[in-house]
Symmetry: C2
Subunit: 302 residues, 2 copies
Amino acid sequence: MSIKQVAIIGLGLLGGSVGLAVEEHADGISTKGYDRNPDVRARAVERGLVGTVCDTAAQAVSDADLVILCVPVGAMEAAAAEIGPYLKNSAIISDVGSSKESVAKALTKALPGHTIIPAHPVAGTEQSGPEAGFASLFTNRWCILTPPEGADEAAVAALSQFWTKLGAKVELMDAGHHDVVLAVTSHIPHLIAYTIVGTASDLEEVTRSEVIKYSAGGFRDFTRIAASDPVMWRDVFLNNKGAVLEVLGRFTEDLTALQRAIRSGDGDTLHDLFSRTRAIRREVIDQGQDDERPDFGRKDHS
Amino acid sequence: MSIKQVAIIGLGLLGGSVGLAVEEHADGISTKGYDRNPDVRARAVERGLVGTVCDTAAQAVSDADLVILCVPVGAMEAAAAEIGPYLKNSAIISDVGSSKESVAKALTKALPGHTIIPAHPVAGTEQSGPEAGFASLFTNRWCILTPPEGADEAAVAALSQFWTKLGAKVELMDAGHHDVVLAVTSHIPHLIAYTIVGTASDLEEVTRSEVIKYSAGGFRDFTRIAASDPVMWRDVFLNNKGAVLEVLGRFTEDLTALQRAIRSGDGDTLHDLFSRTRAIRREVIDQGQDDERPDFGRKDHS
């Protein structure tokens, strides 16, 4: 099974980056793209996000060996239903969504009988839209495939090879397990960041101006994540409810324990935790998953 | 009142950066420094963190016009008591601690009759120790002075001028208000980051290896803050207990409201918050308090 023609539905940060990465890293693969927003399509043409920007989803997918849905997870079912009648029988249908059980269910419902291999490249920035994509987004990042039981092995191999070409490292995982892992490493961090940024801007005792001015004390880090796309993230929380609520429960238990330690002046408990967490940072850096420079190498430290 | 000779007690990230910033930005001011750890003193000599590294705190402060205590806030009282007998009568005593009511109390107790002007430059990185300091740490950052009622105006002016020379913008504030503002913009963000990194590493369902591998989904940002100095942060929480617990209460209320929205599938509440927080990020960047490049300009996006 050989992937020669790829259709990208949705030309935001992820869709645009897939198109640019194919252009830069995957000789012999052509791309067509579609976005339901005509302004996005126009900008995609200007930036050359894909080889051909199509005016309908049907045109984009009709000769595709691989279709990648790059839309919010809540929009997957509708996007899949729209392309269904125009797909080649042999096409692999995949996506880049951050929750995988819900996406598998939506795609299976909309496209019965088709070869569906959901995927999630764990990569992104706080920016979104057709300006945001870039070719190296997936370099050295993990892409998790969650093939359903009995999935076509050749299709899984072809999709793995595709993501490897784009610079990613590929891992196969059960969709349910994916959803718990990502609740921990992505969804709850986003929920917490959105929350604290909201809390800070709503306090009566502290002005918004003060929050901004003194944000270098740590708060500014959270504002980056809390600037992420609102629709994408709304959909993630609604579509990974079970795992998110489970991990959130653990987090609030742990936070309550620290609250108690602060109230009772239990410095040892605080010190023990604060020492343990340092080692995790070291491992993240050692495994090439973050910039080792202080403060992520922000330019104000040049 | 003219500051010609500055003593820096504690030669870690903050003390070292003050010394290097004076050397680079403040012609005509000399520095002496002391750290109770002889290995740190030796490294301070090698890096040239201060003009003269002294073997005792007494030697460092005896001719100083300004003494800056750069030790964890829980160590302020002991450090102040140690230098008390050797201070010039005219010396200004200041610090860089992240909680100001507790520091004012500790310094007033240890150094009755002296001119005490607590200060807090809102700047830092996740690194610590004598390797971590650099001369531009305070550039374009705010330094908050919390002079007690009736403080010597000339001393406040001299200290303001000193921090301005180092590149900082100076603001005067009541110590109690400082402690609430910093609870929001620094202390609670650190507490949350430490907590989620701890939660993630303790889960049974998700391995530590998975947490590290997929950390680019957002989690890795939190590992940076959670790599901060454990002793410094233990002391901050123990010494700003009231404001930290108050702001933490607000945060957990807001988080509980979002939890309820997720459980009940209330997408509008999620979308409303996620849209509001984007504007805060924009202001942080517009006011020069963060790097505008996506993902803080991390090098894996080059």
